[in-house]
Symmetry: none
Subunit: 394 residues, 2 copies
Amino acid sequence: MELSRTSPTKILLVVIDGLGGLPDPTTGRTELEIAGTPNLDRLAARGTCGLSEPVAPGVTPGSAPGHLALFGYDPVECNIGRGVLEAVGIGYGLQTGDMAARGNFCTLDDSGLVADRRAGRISTEKCTELCQLLDGMVIDNVRVTTLPVKEHRMVAVFRGNDLAPDLSDSDPQQVGVPPNPVKPLQPEADATAGIVNKFLAQAKARLAAHHSANMVLLRGFSREPGFPTMSEIYKLKPAAIASYPMYRGLAKLVGMEVLETGATMDEEMATLQQSYHDYDFFFLHFKGTDSAGEDGDFARKVKVLEQIDSLLPMATSLEPDVIVVTGDHSTPARLKAHSWHPVPVLLCSRWCRHDRVHEFAETACLSGGLGRIKATQIMPLAMAHALKLAKFGA
Amino acid sequence: MELSRTSPTKILLVVIDGLGGLPDPTTGRTELEIAGTPNLDRLAARGTCGLSEPVAPGVTPGSAPGHLALFGYDPVECNIGRGVLEAVGIGYGLQTGDMAARGNFCTLDDSGLVADRRAGRISTEKCTELCQLLDGMVIDNVRVTTLPVKEHRMVAVFRGNDLAPDLSDSDPQQVGVPPNPVKPLQPEADATAGIVNKFLAQAKARLAAHHSANMVLLRGFSREPGFPTMSEIYKLKPAAIASYPMYRGLAKLVGMEVLETGATMDEEMATLQQSYHDYDFFFLHFKGTDSAGEDGDFARKVKVLEQIDSLLPMATSLEPDVIVVTGDHSTPARLKAHSWHPVPVLLCSRWCRHDRVHEFAETACLSGGLGRIKATQIMPLAMAHALKLAKFGA
């Protein structure tokens, strides 16, 4: 955005994960419609509301595309690879040029055939111990970092020059066959394939005595995407306040400074208050709504929404010039999953044009002043209302 | 759509041709607003409504782009040639690689100049007889099929290898001049131009004794477009129930199975009931509304809408997982023609987010939960509500 310009105004983007819902059949009202949210409703009445389409009508977004869209990045163009996503999911700070792969510890039988792709689902503690055993190899000037995820799942990060991720998987995705050698899918990936195969040979040697987890299978090689940072695009100094690793990782991918914070929503709010003078853009993430939705727990989702509402004055008392409240996607408790339904969004600033929405909820937002927008349009709107966008054309 | 997946759910797409209208000046109400449609209104109340833009604001679609958009094909990218459209219009099953042209039987005078481009509008019976006279020539391994359309109008279909449709018309579009030789517009169309000119020479010889229709003029050479099928895109097993040839032909172009059915709406509904267990997607087409609109017959359009409404329980009693009711375009009786006005759309499924629309009509749909959508977005939305789309990104 060439129109971006620096100004002293501040933007607060509050992401209530999985915000949107579906009506409970008995009451005909959604989680957000049932929840008592006087502070959100007051903000909706003062601001302007609408509904946001994270990717496209009918498309259910994962967490990564849902958030990238909110940060203003085209979620289809900026789709990130599986290995990178796994590294992001544990909050690992990938650097430009890094290549990542998903891994499984597995069991090979005496003939070297895969007997169990999950090594009997070893404990996360065992996985951590095995990752320490493999960690830090240097092969042809490429350093390999191995990181535990959960149970048998791990991530391998390759750091060096000219790594090319166009590689086939070593994971054969079936048992009774040997692991595949990693093959280059483009001529320029020849050297990288050689490095990965050397890593796998050394890993096999180091793991030999650790039956059932006597080998590791890699898949989904991909490279840190090298997105332009939010500072480059918006001339902002952005900070992320999120307790879950996935969202910290996504914030790092777009160049936000990820602040240390506690696990509770109160602690996240406290972090916002403490750091408020040091940044001009804040991404504040609340996870509980999505978790409750995925568990199919309508009542808990209502309760988390009410908790967020009760904490909201801690943010509004800071008087940010623009406050946006929305979600990365809907997670209706009835569906127990992310969904394609558009997401309520409110934007409050002294430069808002008002609408007639006095309730922050799905049906009420249908008649809001923002209308139906793409999630990628939220950042330009926030920037405009913060008077951080220059005029286009003379 | 790489996200498509197979599931046991079923989608019913009801297309009420030319559905949208304009208010009658005396009552201020449209055809759909005047019509008593309790079943459609109940479906609108249970589901979610909106307005669909077939091509773009202000653009009046023909039947082909209107339907292709509803099937999820970009109507601008997937615009089909004139010759192909004419073949589709008579329901002829074109195969991949086929080339088609529109034809007119015409009158040549003694000097070989076009005296009447329509051969005095010969009868359809005469046209059929002359097409039989020309049908089945084989020229350089290309078989030419000639098919009557109506009065002097016919279609020529060329079937063979490597046919290139970049050809100029033989129809000079004026009288007092000779028919034009067909010329290649690209070097690779040289051979095809030669074949068409040989066909025209032989046609002239065979028609010599059939004054006034002693020649045929060809125009609009185009090739079967080779669209990916709906099965390929959506992993559906789709069936079309349409009594009019044009819509049967369009359904064939996107790979639907076209079911035998009768000419009345009751018979179409009966076909739906009989075939309901054999497919997971149904395109059910009703033509009467468009015909009444084109005739400028407001009252008849109202009556056809009421008939369709009264038949609707035959469809809803099958309990499809998703039912969509919309039109391919508007045909306001007051305009006596297709128009650019957006088209009401309703989508009903147990996974709908409700809105406040309780009437299926143009003005009521303005505040619907679907908002203003492109017609091409209807299929993704139907797929999503049928839980036939996987999540995008993790």
